[in-house]
Symmetry: C2
Subunit: 322 residues, 2 copies
Amino acid sequence: MIALKAVRGFHLGNERVQVAGLPVKTVRAAATGPERRSDPNGSYPVGQLYVQHFQLHQPQARYPLLFWHGGGLTGACWEDTPDGRPGWHLHFMQRGYDTLVSDAVERGRAGWARYPEINPLEPEHRTVEQAWEQFRFGPEGGYVPGAPQQRGFPGQRFPVGSMEQFARQFVARWTNSTPATLRAYETLVRHAGPCVIIAHSQGGYFALEAARRLPDLVKALILLEPVAAPGPGGALGSRYKAIPHLVIWGDYYSESPIWRQYRAGVQRYLDNMAAEGGCVSTMDLPSMGIHGNSHMLMMDDNSDQLATMVHDWLAEAGCYRQ
Amino acid sequence: MIALKAVRGFHLGNERVQVAGLPVKTVRAAATGPERRSDPNGSYPVGQLYVQHFQLHQPQARYPLLFWHGGGLTGACWEDTPDGRPGWHLHFMQRGYDTLVSDAVERGRAGWARYPEINPLEPEHRTVEQAWEQFRFGPEGGYVPGAPQQRGFPGQRFPVGSMEQFARQFVARWTNSTPATLRAYETLVRHAGPCVIIAHSQGGYFALEAARRLPDLVKALILLEPVAAPGPGGALGSRYKAIPHLVIWGDYYSESPIWRQYRAGVQRYLDNMAAEGGCVSTMDLPSMGIHGNSHMLMMDDNSDQLATMVHDWLAEAGCYRQ
């Protein structure tokens, strides 16, 4: 049983663009209804983020948890797993954490800016096959569209039989939205106040940047397979160095040259941080005897075990009960 | 305090398309990371719907409530109002209703199919100005972009000072997605089982269609300013005739020729239904002495009062306590 004080959903953002000079159209929104005018010229808010805030009646955790999804996904990735088990969001609420689950700029309920008139770039849509390879589920070309059985890497913990269900949560992404996304996440952290961020993949990059910018508010970072790290910046401030970072890596890196590159880049950043006195813990799951995890750690068949490890680490870091 | 058993989020849908023959690109998802291959060819699930299911520990209501948004919006429209008050979703949960809040096909967390390769049609993006007119907030051309004060119709109950915040929840829509949306909503109703649907605007059309198709499962319909009704079909079955319909209309119809057209079409359908023995209640708010409501009834300053009226009607219709 989860005793909620409230659940709220809202958007954060402050930008606006004006569009002019486009032709006015006529559309019929319902087949049985009349036509109406559709004028695309006017003002549009852009760069907003959507967040759903679950406030517990009596939170047990010291700080709320912010859940930041990866590229081409939304906050839905923290809810049910593709094979229908409860996800990390429910897990952490049950442990007594307030949560804020966001859809970043241009994904999900955040909406997306029209292209090419506002955003000149085309979006990228991920195929099931692309996910199969990028998320280290199985060998290149090994996905059979729609088949209920799929042959993932030996010992694969991701529910590969639910690939298509997983792919239903994919959303288009734009590779030029990083600056707007960072602004929106900064606004979110300021809104949340002192908080812990759990971030996956691309979200890990945003979380590292946000912590650099707002070291007084980010009390801990959990980075699930971060895909990139900030570029070389100035020296780390003492407040930043005090933020505990937990980085978790799954399995099958030997199968993925691109992931070895991603990880090497992030590792350089973390090594520099540690050398400067930063606070980095790493869980390389295979070297801890936990084999078979994909890029989608929070959906793998040991997702509850991993969530418990994260919770225990947060408690150790002083981020659970006061 | 709301005692939840669980909150789950997932997608429903069964369709798949294959794309072939498109050029393979190279993208750099993070400025600091390496480039990677982006092959748009392969399989995509399409036509799915996203739903978030809030299960109460001890529901008081006889049936769960399904919340169906209108065109160009998502399930977020039932959460906070643009001026930050709690929305209908929280209101009904607090009264003891289990809820299922969906993002229909091609909106929000449901994702959208690439165009023109899968969906040949361009989407429609709503401007703030278009919403100002279509939602009967104020006189044509009366919206001043970004101004904190806006001059709505006299007595306007929509928080017009929060227009831009409202517009942050707008999402692109496609006017050709009706068949796929109906299929997805049918799947949702079958998933939910016996249920009550609260539907706004375009969602009202879908709800009327769904009730015709699944009269054993839809136990009552609440239609907030439905924008259209099904076309002439066969005679109404006896099971359909037993479903109580509540239709609610706001104010300012005299200011909107297109809304008079929409409403006239729906009214013909409802009149036919009543003539055949169907069960239709209408709340025309101005004629009940409640003036100043816009198209966005659930966001107007009397949204709690209206929700209470809906709840009372549901209790009267036997849909609350058993």
